[in-house]
């Protein structure tokens, strides 16, 4: 019987059933303890109700073995919850290497998405089934949160930094997308939909409509337009470090520290070049703050990442 009242969310990702299984375990534990406490209170309250005004029950000070029992048993149960929950959380934060990477930019009050092949969407996200999808997300203003209840995942989207999350859709359909971090007046209007398509249909969707230039190519042209090449080309003037094969590597900084060259590092190096100077180089790069948009940054990063694969191919 369908009352039209959803009492449980749809399961549409690989993570959904795992989260639900853990959820049901906790529900079972909770129901057990609530029943235990309620029953005990009810039975005691009836059985030991006051029968005469001047009753004086015998004092009971408490017993050590009971105290130990009801400390250790709940402790054991919570540790099961902790480990189980931590394993799922760890997996939520570790996308497979072959994940399809889509960029998300949030702003008051809309979501913008761009596929690697260049297609852009607003308040909508098309994804293929059976393929891990990683979202690389940032915000142009305040903190937002990308929440997909049917996939059981959400992640805050922060200004000035990248956060990411991943999922693998398992069931074709249209699912709700909510902003889950309060972001101002139209917070409840910052919603959209995620469309999970069979891979073939997804390909069709990608090729239909206005085909864009791929993110890598868009990044490459930005790279040229801003004149990045002048300094950052392998075998160039060498005023800046070469970017080929940079992504994911550990970079040695001036002063002996090191840093992993991830999206946040590249972003910082473009916007605030002097925050971390690579060992052996002069702090001469100008900032590109205000010159490049959030989308542009994501394209540049996509391009710099692509230099890795390019390098691997040539070598």
């Amino acid at each position: 019987m369908d009352l039209g009242v959803p009492l449980f969310p749809e399961q549409a990702s690989t993570m959904a059933s795992r989260v639900d299984a853990l959820f049901f375990f906790l529900v079972a534990v909770s129901v057990f303890f609530v029943a235990l406490i309620f029953l005990a209170i009810f039975v005691f309250a009836v059985k030991y109700r006051r029968r005469a005004e001047d009753e004086r029950p015998q004092p009971i000070e408490g017993t050590l073995w009971l105290e130990v029992a009801w400390s250790v048993i709940p402790f054991g149960l919570t540790m099961v919850m902790f480990v189980w929950g931590a394993i799922i959380f760890f997996d939520i934060h570790n996308p497979p290497d072959d994940a399809l990477e889509i960029s998300i930019v949030g702003r008051q009050w809309m979501w913008k998405a761009q596929h690697p092949t260049g297609q852009s969407e607003i308040n909508e996200l098309h994804v293929p089934l059976g393929q891990p999808v990683k979202l690389m997300m940032t915000s142009e203003d305040v903190i937002h949160d990308f929440y997909l209840p049917a996939f059981r995942i959400k992640q805050d989207v922060l200004p000035g930094r990248y956060t990411s999350m991943w999922f693998e859709a398992t069931k074709a359909g249209v699912y709700q997308l909510f902003c889950a971090e309060y972001c101002g007046t139209q917070h409840s209007g910052m919603i959209g939909r995620v469309v999970a398509l069979e891979p073939a249909q997804f390909e069709k969707w990608l090729s239909g409509g206005a085909t864009g230039v791929s993110m890598i190519d868009q990044g490459a042209s930005l790279f040229k337009r801003f004149g990045c090449e002048t300094c950052h080309r392998a075998g160039g003037t060498n005023q800046g470090p070469s970017l080929a094969g940079l992504f994911g590597k550990t970079v040695k900084l001036q002063g002996g520290n090191t840093v992993t060259a991830d999206e946040n590092y590249i972003r910082e190096s473009i916007l605030d070049p002097r925050a971390k100077i690579v060992a052996g180089y002069q702090p001469i790069m100008p900032t590109f703050k205000g010159l490049v948009s959030e989308e542009g940054l994501l394209q540049l990063i996509a391009y710099i990442k692509s230099l890795n694969t390019a390098e691997r191919k040539t070598s």
Binding site: V5, P6, F8, P9, R18, V19, L22, F23, L26, V29, F33, V34, I41, F44, A45, R49, R50, E55, R56, P57, P59, I60, E61, G62, E67, W70, S71, T78, M81, F82, W84, G85, A86, I87, F89, H93, Q108, V142, I143, D145, Y147, P149, R152, K154, Q155, L158, P159, G160, Q176, F178, C179, A180, E181, Y182, G184, T185, H187, S188, G189, D272
Partner: protein
């Protein structure tokens, strides 16, 4: 008739009259009344905002008020309820009245500081109400940056100043309690003879003095950032918005224990009195309060599992959050065990206490869902969280507060409240509460985010249930307001110890004399010695100083 029985004797209420005698009083019992009046006003202001929200949420469209207005409603609801009702409610009303009486002292250690703390509270409240009157504030009670520091166009600074100022009232109260409990116990009142109410307030005071200054400085920084465009929490200026969240929750998570620990103290008194038993595992319950206060300072990061903090930090915070759940569970088991072979009566305060145990159990267990990393990712910032913390704060703290008010009402006023009406109100509140908030657990797991003015139509049925429950809850809260006021004049004379309780506060007339005890008592037994006569527990010493 009755009137003369109470008025024949001089006590703290009739020792002098007039508005000045109240506004300049340093008697902790009168200051408790000042707080009682003020927090009641704030409770109904906060309740009004909640009512307006629930009415708006009857329909999925935003048809009653505009989005911005709705956002101001939930912000003002949160700010008034958290900072101006829940935090001061039990400590400043019941704690103020009872801490000195329970330990056999004549007043708190610093009576003038106590009065000052009330004025500071009122000043902070005035700032916040000014912000509301000037057009309100829409950041949510959490004031997350950079929305609060840069983007919001509402009266953030005024509100933040109000909360900042009020914080000093909490600090002074905590300081007063700690010193009083350390230094002013009656002869024979050793630490392990103290009522658990006192232990709970001691633990609460520790949080007051160590947590409150951190939120104070954080809010100062938000205010400065907003006024002078500093970049401390604004990423556009090089700052870090997540740092704000760390600082905010460093106070605001322990603040949850500020709200619940005193209620636990109240419930310990009620359970013992109405089952005429010593609390099962007294010292375990006492240490559990301290454990909650201490571990409570180390779990703030569980509010930030999806905020972008590192996976490892999240795991540590998750683990610690499970640890802080254990002492709470221990308390619930011990209260339940106290009932075993007791002599249980169902007076209204006991109904509240039993309601507290039930609702707190549900609230606590759903807290485990939120501490579980894998589940929190899904339910964080949904109605599941809203339901959870209302089970703790309304089902827990408010139930404890109302139970305590009823229990000590005869002591405070010298008169009893109408028992039938009080039981009816307790029942209405229990039913109304569950109808309001249980559907929100379901709503949350299905995926409805909190702070939504407009929501998808499939969530409507559960929202209507919630609003229906809220209307029952509202009646439940208005009833005590009316019959308690009524009882001030028409209630039966209570006598010194209507519940045949064993606490020291019951061994002096109701209402008590200005210095609480005509003669300094000496204590020879631990709290809750219900198997003995009060005369066996307390001996009256030399007459008090003239």
């Amino acid at each position: 008739m009755n009137l003369s029985e109470i008025e024949r004797r001089e006590h703290y209420l009739n020792v002098n009259y007039g508005i000045r005698s109240w506004l300049f009083t340093t008697d902790h019992k009168r200051i408790a009344w000042l707080y009682l009046l003020s927090v009641t006003v704030f409770f109904f202001i906060g309740g009004l905002f909640a009512t307006l929200m629930r009415i708006e949420l009857l329909t999925p469209q935003g048809d009653l008020v505009q989005a911005e207005t709705y956002n101001k409603f939930f912000t003002m609801h949160g700010v008034t309820m958290v900072f101006f009702f829940l935090i001061p409610s039990i400590p400043n009303v019941l704690g103020n009245f009872l801490v000195p009486m329970m330990i056999g002292a004549r007043d708190l250690a610093f009576p003038r500081l106590n009065l000052a703390s009330w004025y500071i509270f009122i000043l902070g409240g005035a700032f916040t109400l000014m912000a509301a009157a000037a057009g309100g504030v829409d950041t949510g009670w959490t004031f997350y940056t950079p929305y609060s520091s840069i983007y919001s166009n509402t009266h953030v600074v005024l509100t933040v100043v109000g909360v900042f100022v009020t914080g000093f009232s909490s600090i002074l109260t905590g300081l007063n309690f700690i010193v009083t409990i350390h230094k002013m116990r009656a002869p024979g009142m050793t630490w392990f003879r103290l009522p658990l109410f006192i232990w709970a307030h001691y633990a609460t005071s520790i949080i007051f003095i160590l947590g409150t200054p951190v939120i104070a400085i954080t809010l100062v920084l938000v205010g400065l950032e907003r006024i002078f465009r500093l970049g401390i929490f604004d990423p556009a200026l090089g700052g870090d918005p997540v740092l704000f969240q760390h600082l905010f929750w460093f106070y605001s998570h322990p603040a949850v224990y500020i709200m619940i620990l005193p209620a636990m103290g109240v419930v310990s008194e009620l359970i013992a009195c109405f089952s005429r038993k010593r609390i099962f595992g007294y010292s375990v319950v006492a240490f559990a309060s301290l454990a909650i206060a201490v571990i409570g300072f180390l779990v703030w990061g569980h509010h930030m599992f999806v905020a972008g903090q590192s996976v490892h930090a999240s795991m540590i915070f998750s683990l610690l959050s499970f640890l802080v759940a254990i002492p709470s569970a221990i308390k619930v088991f011990n209260w339940t065990a106290t009932l075993y072979k007791g002599s249980i009566s169902y007076d209204a305060p006991m109904l509240y206490a039993l309601g507290f145990i039930g609702l707190f159990t549900i609230g606590g267990l759903t807290g485990l869902f939120l501490a579980t990393l894998g589940i929190d990712v899904h339910v964080h910032d949904t109605y599941f969280v809203v339901a959870h913390f209302h089970y703790i704060m309304v089902g827990g703290a408010v139930m404890g507060y109302l139970g305590g008010i009823h229990f000590w009402w005869p002591k405070m006023t010298g008169r009893t409240y109408p028992e039938i009406w009080a039981r009816l109100a307790a029942l209405l509140i229990f039913v109304g509460f569950n109808l309001t908030f249980f559907p929100q657990f379901v709503l949350g797991y299905v995926g409805m985010p909190r702070r939504y003015h407009v929501y998808p139509p499939e969530f409507q049925v559960l929202n209507v249930m919630s609003t229906a429950g809220a209307s029952i809850l509202a009646v439940g809260y208005l009833l005590p307001l009316m019959y308690l006021i009524w009882s001030l004049r028409y209630g039966a004379v209570a006598g010194a110890n209507p519940w045949r309780a064993r606490g020291l506060e019951w061994q002096t007339p109701s209402p008590p004399p200005t210095e609480n005890f005509d003669r300094t008592p000496t204590v020879t037994e631990g709290a809750y010695a219900y198997e003995k006569d009060p005369e066996e527990i307390y001996t009256l010493g030399k007459p008090a100083h003239v």
